[in-house]
């Protein structure tokens, strides 16, 4: 981690969360939280590892690679838009862009790239962008999150943080009520996973969805289950939320795409 680039407060927030979960789950290694709820339930983890031996998302990685390498009509391609030609870079996304003062997620960067090259942007709910980001995530497996919070980014970071700790919806729940206070407890048939580890494995193949989906789709579902109206994928609020959550995952190893229930 190039920790100097993370503002003191953001670093403190991340360390506080890591300390909180170390105390809550003394037997769970920090790095194991990248497996979400499976880090907290050995029986489910065993099933899950068997699934991961023959992952259902594999064809989508191939499709993503094909799309990623398909030239735009001007002859250029995605590789030209990214450092290291887009290979093994996801650990630095989302990133704060000081020029636009916006959080840029990988999905947003992919569409910026298209627009720069005269292509129309992809739908954030469609299969193509999910496949491309799945391929990019795959090439970043094993890297550790290293998200910086440079000067000027504090406001976006704090908005994401406020979102995470604010109660919402008719049922009046904050993300933190479930994924911090109640982490490790059961909610119906599910075990609530910890905040740390939430960003490592996207896009994820969920059996409920029967396909790969991005982290904003999961945000929307978690909002809706407490009775809140979900926000648009890639809305500013969700991008800031993803930024905050990913900074909280700094130092964790990327393991996407992955499968979840």
């Amino acid at each position: 981690m190039s920790g100097d680039a993370v503002s003191g407060d953001a670093r403190q927030d991340r360390d506080d969360l890591v300390a909180f979960f170390a105390k809550r789950f003394p037997d769970v290694e920090f790095s194991d939280h990248a497996n979400g709820a499976y880090a907290l339930d050995e029986a489910k983890a065993r099933q899950w590892r068997e699934i991961e031996d023959f992952p259902p998302y594999e064809p989508m990685i191939d499709e993503g690679e094909r799309l990623f390498n398909t030239a735009f009509s001007n002859g250029s391609g995605y590789a030209a838009c990214f450092e290291h030609e887009g290979i093994g870079i996801k650990q630095r996304y989302p990133r704060f862009d000081p020029d636009t003062r916006q959080v840029v997620t990988l999905e947003l960067a992919v569409n910026h790239c298209r627009e720069l090259n005269g292509e129309s942007p992809l739908s954030y709910t469609g299969e193509a962008i999910t496949a491309i980001t799945a391929y990019m995530a795959f090439t970043s497996r094993g890297q550790k999150f290293d998200i910086s919070v440079p000067e000027g980014a504090e406001s976006a970071f704090n908005q994401g943080k406020q979102f995470y700790y604010s109660r919402r919806g008719q049922l009046n729940f904050a993300c933190s009520n479930c994924h911090l206070d109640a982490a490790g407890l059961r909610l119906r048939a599910e075990i609530l996973s910890a905040t740390i580890g939430h960003a490592t494995h996207w896009p994820a193949y969920r059996f409920k969805w029967q396909e790969l989906g991005g982290i904003h789709r999961r945000f929307a579902e978690c909002n809706e289950q407490v009775g809140a109206v979900a926000l648009d994928h890639q809305s500013e609020a969700y991008r800031n939320l993803e930024y905050f959550m990913t900074v909280m995952n700094n130092g964790m190893t990327l393991n996407g795409p992955s499968t979840r229930k």
């Binding site: 506080d16 109660r167 008719q170 904050a174």
Partner: protein, 119 residues
């Protein structure tokens, strides 16, 4: 505390329980009532838009507004009035929630040794 009660009341009353009984009204009273129901629906819609802008809208508000519109179209004025009133209450509660949360969210940060010392 008042906030918690309001939310609890709304949480307990599911949108399925609305029942209408417009039968006992005279035709004249019915017309006047019609207009006031339209006003309540309109106000509920405005408050819902306000909650949406705050990123704080509740799904039940939208459900109750369309419930009210459906009842209205079916001539069930009393049912429409009940649904619209609850839509309005839920929209107001969601806006209250937004205001309340903007003040208290920091209380939910993890209470570890470091963060306790810090603030």
């Amino acid at each position: 505390m008042r906030m918690a009660w309001l939310l609890l009341i709304l949480a307990c009353a599911g949108p399925m329980e609305i029942s209408g009984s417009a039968d006992a009204r005279t035709p004249e009273a019915h017309v006047a009532h019609n207009e006031s129901v339209q006003t309540v629906i309109q106000t509920a819609r405005q408050k819902f838009q306000q909650a949406l802008k705050l990123d704080y809208a509740w799904r039940v508000t939208a459900d109750l507004i369309s419930e009210a519109e459906k009842r209205m179209a079916a001539g069930d004025t009393q049912g429409a009035h009940d649904a619209a009133t609850r839509a309005l209450l839920s929209a107001e509660a969601s806006i209250l929630q937004a205001e309340h949360e903007s003040r208290v969210w920091r209380e939910r940060l993890p209470k570890t040794a470091t963060s306790n010392v810090k603030k």
